[in-house]
Amino acid sequence: MGQTIIEKILSSHCGQTARANEIVVARVDYVMGQDGTAPLAINAFNDMNGKEVFDHEKVAFVIDHSAPSPNEGVSALHKLMREFVREKMFRLYDIGEGVCHQLIPESGEVGPGSLVIGADSHTCTYGALNAFSTGVGSTDLAGGLISGQMWFKVPETFKFVCNGTLPPGVFSKDLILYLIGDVTADGATYMAAEYVGEAIAALSQEARFTIANMAIEMGAKAGLMEADDKTYDWLRRFTKREFTQVVADGDAIYAKVREYDVSKLEPQVAKPHKVDNVAPVGDVAGKPIQQALLGTCTNGRLEDLRIAAGILANRKVHPDVRMIVAPASRRIFLDAMAEGIIQTLVESGAAIVTPGCGPCVGTHNGVPSDGETVISTANRNFKGRMGNSNAEIFLASPATVAASALTGKITDPREFI
C-alpha cells in the first residue's frame, strides 16, 4: 500500500511505517517560536524542569509579532526571550530581521523531507519546500525544545489537483482564496493538503509559499507540494545542504481529491469576517477603502512587492488611503531597495514599516479606526484581527491591493495590467 508525502516524512522521522490516523512520536529537524508564543513556552519549559534545548543549531526564536516593541508590556516579554536565548545559546532573530515564516526558509535549515514544528499557526508555509511543517502551541513548543520530538496523529491527505494556466492579473493568492472558499474554513481539518498539477508547477517558488501559508485557513495541518528545479534553485541561494525530495506513491490513499481548472479564475477577495467568505473581486468592486496593507508571511516577498510596484509606478496612492508596506524580511527589504521597488512604492505615497508582522495582527503600525475598511494581502480577516473589531478587512492579492490603493476603492487589478 502506497504512502502520501506526509506519511513518508513522518515514517522517516519516527522509525516505523506511519499510516493515516496512527499516533506516532517523531524526531523534529527544527523548532521555532515567536514573540507571541515563546514567552509562554519559556514558562512551560521551566514548568517541565527543562534544562537545555535539544540541539542549539536546530532551534530559533523570532521577535516579529510586535517588533520593535510598542509598549513596556511587550518589552518585558522580549527581554525574557533574549535572556532565555542567551542562556540556552541558540539563534535569535531580533527586530527588523523579518517574519518568522520568511526567516526560517531563508535560514537554509528546512528543505524537502524536513519535519518542523513552530509555535505559530502559519508554520505550514514551509510545505512549499516539500517539508512537513506545522503549527503548535507554547506547551508543545516547550516539549519540542527539550526533547527534539513531538507526537502527531498522522493526518489523512486531501489532494488538490490544479490544472490549466492562471490568466494575467490572477495570482497564487487568488487561487488559494478560491480553494478555501470552495472547501470552507474547516474543509481540511485534521488533514494534510497536497497541492499538485500543472498550475502549481507553473508558479514561482515565492508564489507557492502563499498557497502553503494559507493551508491552515482550510483547517489543514500541512500544505504540501512536490519539489522541483525551482525549489532547489531557491534553496541554493541560502544553503549548500542537499535535500532529497519526497513524492507520493502512485497508489497512495487520499481521503479526498478535488480537481480544478484555473484557466478562467478571476481575482478573488475574502470578505469580512471569515477567510472562506470568498467572492470574485467584481462582486465588491467600488467599495471605498481607507487602508491598504502589502506584506505579511502570505504576500510580503520580493515578487509581491514587485507586482505592487509595477501597478503603483508613476502613480499616486489615493489621498483617502493609507498604504502600508511591510517587507517580509530584511533580505527582501534590501533586494527591493536594490531593485528600486522601495523607491517606487515610497514615491507613490506608501509608508514602509519594519519587516515583521505588526499591522497583520493588530499589535501596532496601522490599527484601523472604527468603521474603516482595509484591503490586505494577509491571510486572516477575522473581526478585530488588525486591532479593532469595528473595522472590516478584505483579503486579496498584492495586485488587487495596489490597484485598490490607487483608486481608493476595491478594484479589479486587471484594469492596470
Binding site: 507571541g36 527539550i146 486572516r380
Partner: protein, 166 residues
C-alpha cells in the same frame, strides 16, 4: 471527572482572535488579566456573566485561527470547566489538552443558551437537565487521555522527562 454548570452558546468557527484578541495577548503573561477579555468581541459582557464551572458551547471548528495558547488558558482562567463543540480546530484542541482544559466533541445542537448541563467525562455522556435528555461524547484519543490524566503536558514531562506513551 464530572462538571456541572450553565451553557453559554456560540456559533460556528469561533476563532482564537474572538476567544482572546491579539491586542491583549502580546502584552502580558498574566492569564487572570487576559481572562477578563475572553470572548469579548462576540459578547462584551461574557466575563461578567460566566459563573465558575460554566461551559462554553460552540458549533463546528471551534478555536480555528492562531496557535495562541492564551486562548484555552484565558478560558480556563475565566473558570470555565470545559468547552463543548461539534468539532475543534486541531491546534486549539492540542493546546487545550496540553494545558488541562477539557474539550468535548458532541452534538451541541441539543444544547441551548442557558441550559443546565452535567458533563461526565469518564462515562462519556452529557446530561442536559433543562431538556431532560442525554448526549453522547466522542471519546478522546488514548494519548490525549494520558496527557489529561497526568495533569497536562508539563506534568507529563516532569514525570517522564519526555514523551512516554508506551
Amino acid at each position: 471527572m464530572e462538571f456541572s454548570g450553565k451553557a453559554h452558546k456560540f456559533g460556528n468557527d469561533v476563532n482564537t482572535d474572538y476567544i482572546i484578541s491579539g491586542k491583549y495577548k502580546f502584552k502580558t503573561l498574566d492569564m487572570k488579566e487576559l481572562a477578563k477579555h475572553v470572548m469579548e468581541d462576540l459578547d462584551p459582557d461574557f466575563y461578567e456573566k460566566v459563573s465558575s464551572g460554566d461551559f462554553i458551547v460552540g458549533g463546528s471548528n471551534f478555536g480555528c485561527g492562531s496557535s495562541r495558547e492564551q486562548a484555552p488558558l484565558a478560558i480556563k482562567y475565566a473558570d470555565v470547566s470545559a468547552v463543548l463543540a461539534k468539532s475543534f480546530a486541531r491546534i486549539f484542541y492540542r493546546n487545550a489538552i496540553n494545558t488541562g482544559l477539557p474539550v468535548v466533541e458532541c452534538d451541541t445542537d441539543q444544547i441551548d443558551q442557558g441550559d443546565e448541563i452535567v458533563v461526565d467525562l469518564a462515562a462519556g455522556v452529557i446530561n442536559n437537565k433543562t431538556k431532560g435528555n442525554t448526549i453522547p461524547i466522542k471519546p478522546l484519543p488514548a494519548v490525549m487521555i494520558k496527557i489529561l490524566n497526568d495533569g497536562g503536558l508539563a506534568a507529563h514531562f516532569r514525570k517522564f522527562g519526555g514523551f512516554n506513551f508506551g
